[in-house]
């Protein structure tokens, strides 16, 4: 991608681009927009709002766990908090933030004028606020929001109040949005690439999203099926999960985790893609082992379909089953290890600088690897039977979800913010944001490993006195981490409103099309004539 014919005039600056918004102004612009950049922006803001709501719920959880005994909320509300925190963070914050990245970047990185189905794209986004409203409304139903855990296990879901129905519909709508968005992304990547942009020349971010989109198309419908069965069990007399009618609650767990494990990689893979763009840019070296990265990503995706039961070692499955899922799970460490080694080797002997995006990327590398290792510990049946449903599991998945996906999202936002807004964020504040997030994150979750090893169960609002010290540290860290994200909001808003104008190429190592072929900020319409990639 080095020598590329520049077919696009750089004359279109920010001042001109506002003339291309189409017929509407104000709020109608955002409701009717079919522009991938507008939709990407809406996805990003939507996910930040959901991130804040989910974060507030996390603070409620940590406030209650600050001291042993019940003080702030009753156990039922505590359960609603853990459930909604999980659902909102997974479906409302982490998944949409990467769809936002996909909308903004994939057309620009492959040299396409927009997404393949622009109007469908608009609809995919606007489904989300309705789903989020349903989720929040469930708090005001008789019986409140479901307190069943984000995994929505039967038989509890069959017994919940009306809030459960709203949650089921919200999951249906979220699933619909994800499937449509994924079909759009696959079609865009497969059909809309600029001449010369072969699949194996695409930036790795596009590759990870292509594979993620396939995972979504294959697994979101299975989740939709699982919650539909719950719905018919609740209201239409079926007994899929009711043992009294010949059903089986364990069946729900199998169906859910058939979706749930690929979902883990749906969350992680786009983050891998972002990291694979950021690390080479700040190492001033091309990504080491590009092809092996593509194959490793595919291998992770395929393996993710045959490991689901490692979430349910304790349901009483035969030893043969446990062994199969244990070996398959540990096998995933191989392609994941390939990726981590490739990132490290990319940095090896590079001209490294540590601006905020790189700090988050390196932070990701350390923390995600740690989370991966605790995942390997949990993959082992004899150990997992001891640690199942303890805070060790909570610590593990927050290391891969927060320090994995969220750090990658932060890295990407700081990395592309100049391209999106034409302005630079405040580097000092960005670095402070990183270091505070890093320190507080470890304060919250590192100690939870100790709690889990000592046997503290998850999803319980009370605990014995001996767990108090670590819980206090964890809660204080959570409050700090929550406040730190207000700094993030400040940095982003300040950048948009009054940041220094960004240079055309603010990161000298960045080499994908959106940096090399488009002005900064990116014009409202880009690549109406496809670039020729040689």
């Amino acid at each position: 991608m080095s020598a590329v014919a520049d077919t696009h005039g750089h004359a279109h600056g920010a001042a001109h681009s506002h003339g291309h918004h189409g017929g509407y102004g104000g709020i109608m612009r955002w409701i009717t927009t079919t522009n991938h950049k507008d939709i990407g922006t809406m996805y990003l803001w939507f996910s930040f709002i959901m991130f804040s709501i989910g974060g507030l719920m996390a603070v409620v959880i940590r406030l209650e766990l600050f001291s042993p005994g019940l003080q702030l909320v009753d156990p039922d509300f505590f359960n609603q908090m853990t459930t909604m925190h999980g659902l909102i963070m997974v479906f409302g914050a982490i998944m949409p933030v990467f769809v936002g990245f996909a909308n903004w970047l994939i057309p620009m990185q492959i040299g396409a004028p927009d997404m393949a189905f622009a109007r469908l794209n608009n609809w995919s986004f606007w489904l989300l606020p309705f789903a989020a409203t349903l989720l929040v409304l469930s708090f005001f139903m008789p019986g409140g929001a479901p307190g069943v855990g984000w995994t929505m296990y039967a038989p509890l879901t069959v017994q919940m109040g009306m809030g459960m129905d709203l949650t089921i519909f919200a999951v249906h709508i979220l699933g619909m949005s994800s499937i449509l968005g994924s079909i759009n992304i696959i079609t865009t990547i497969l059909n809309m690439r600029a001449p010369g942009m072969t699949l194996m020349r695409m930036p790795l971010f596009c590759w990870t999203w292509l594979i993620t989109a396939y995972l979504l198309v294959a697994t979101m419908p299975v989740l939709a099926g699982a919650v539909t069965m719950t719905l018919t069990d609740r209201h239409f007399g079926t007994t899929f999960f009711n043992a009294a009618g010949g059903g089986d609650p364990v069946l729900y767990q199998h169906i859910f985790w058939f979706f749930g494990h690929p979902e883990v990689y749906i969350i992680a893979l786009p983050g891998f893609g972002v990291i694979s763009q950021v690390i080479p840019a700040f190492s001033r070296k091309p990504l080491f082992g590009y092809a092996s990265m593509v194959y490793a990503t595919s291998a992770i995706a395929i393996l993710s379909f045959i490991v689901w039961a490692h979430h349910m070692y304790t349901v009483g499955m035969p030893v043969t089953g446990q062994l199969f899922f244990m070996y398959a799970t540990t096998l995933i460490a191989v392609p994941t290890g390939v990726k981590v080694f490739n990132w490290v080797t990319t940095m090896w002997k590079g001209s490294l600088t540590f601006e905020t995006p790189m700090l988050f990327a390196v932070g990701f590398l350390f923390m995600f690897t740690l989370g991966g290792f605790t995942g390997l510990v949990l993959a082992l049946v004899p150990v997992d039977i001891q640690l199942h449903d303890t805070y060790y599991v909570v610590a593990h998945f927050h290391y891969v979800m927060v320090a994995g996906a969220l750090f990658a999202a932060f890295a990407g936002i700081y990395f592309w913010l100049p391209k999106w807004t034409g302005r630079m964020y405040n580097e000092t504040l960005g670095k402070i944001h990183f270091w505070l997030t890093m320190i507080f994150f470890n304060m919250v979750f590192f100690v939870q490993h100790f709690l889990g090893l000592a046997g503290m169960p998850r999803r319980i609002p009370d605990y014995p006195l001996m767990f108090e010290t670590w819980n206090k540290i964890s809660s204080l860290g959570a409050f700090g981490m929550g406040l730190t994200q207000l700094l993030f909001l400040y940095v982003v808003v300040k950048c948009i409103r009054s940041g220094e104008p960004a240079a055309q190429l603010p990161w000298e190592g960045a080499d994908s099309l959106e940096w090399t072929h488009l002005p900064t900020p990116a014009p409202y319409h880009s690549f109406e004539t496809p670039p020729v990639v040689k």
Binding site: A116, T187, V217, G225, M229, F240, H254, F258
Partner: protein
């Protein structure tokens, strides 16, 4: 425009995959049931059966059954005179008593073993000798003894004689 047509074709294909995967979720239900049936696990309709894994099938011990009534107007005898059991195996044998007196009688059975030290290896789970028995005039009753021979029974013991003697409980008459 051919790109538009190609995009739509790909959309249709992917939509079919999504719909098929929705169906796959439901197909997991019979699939799960079949797997469970094939592997013989998780069969909710079947009652749990308990299998005794402590039976030593390499040995056979003959239990000889004996019965005596001490000054009691009862006809007292085992239904079978001997049984062959494996150590560790749960076995039930029956004794029959007939009260030949014209009045109700209460008696108490006392077991003894030959050889005597076999007693500690002969574990009775249920026995008519645990309680006093009252028989009405002319009544016939069959009563069980359920026992396990401890697998630790010394190899030198090839047979155990189980002998019961019934004593009348004086002064009780038919009142229990």
């Amino acid at each position: 425009m051919s790109l538009r047509r190609e995009n739509r074709r790909l959309f249709t294909r992917l939509a079919i995959v999504a719909v098929a995967m929705f169906g796959f979720g439901f197909a997991l239900v019979p699939f799960y049931n079949q797997i469970c049936a094939a592997l013989g696990i998780n069969s909710l309709e079947q009652a749990e059966t308990v299998v005794n894994t402590q039976v030593d099938r390499s040995r056979t011990v003959v239990i000889e059954l004996d019965a005596n009534a001490h000054n009691l107007p009862w006809r007292f005898k085992p239904v079978v005179s001997h049984v062959s059991v494996h150590p560790g195996e749960l076995t039930t044998v029956e004794y029959e008593i007939v009260n030949v007196r014209e009045a109700a009688v209460t008696g108490q059975a006392v077991p003894s073993y030959g050889p005597q030290h076999a007693a500690e290896y002969f574990k009775k789970i249920e026995c008519f000798c645990f309680t006093q028995q009252t028989l009405a005039a002319g009544e016939t009753r069959r009563m069980p003894v359920t026992f396990v021979v401890d697998p630790k029974l010394p190899a030198s013991i090839g047979s155990i004689a189980l002998s019961y003697t019934f004593f009348e409980v004086a002064g009780r008459g038919g009142k229990s």
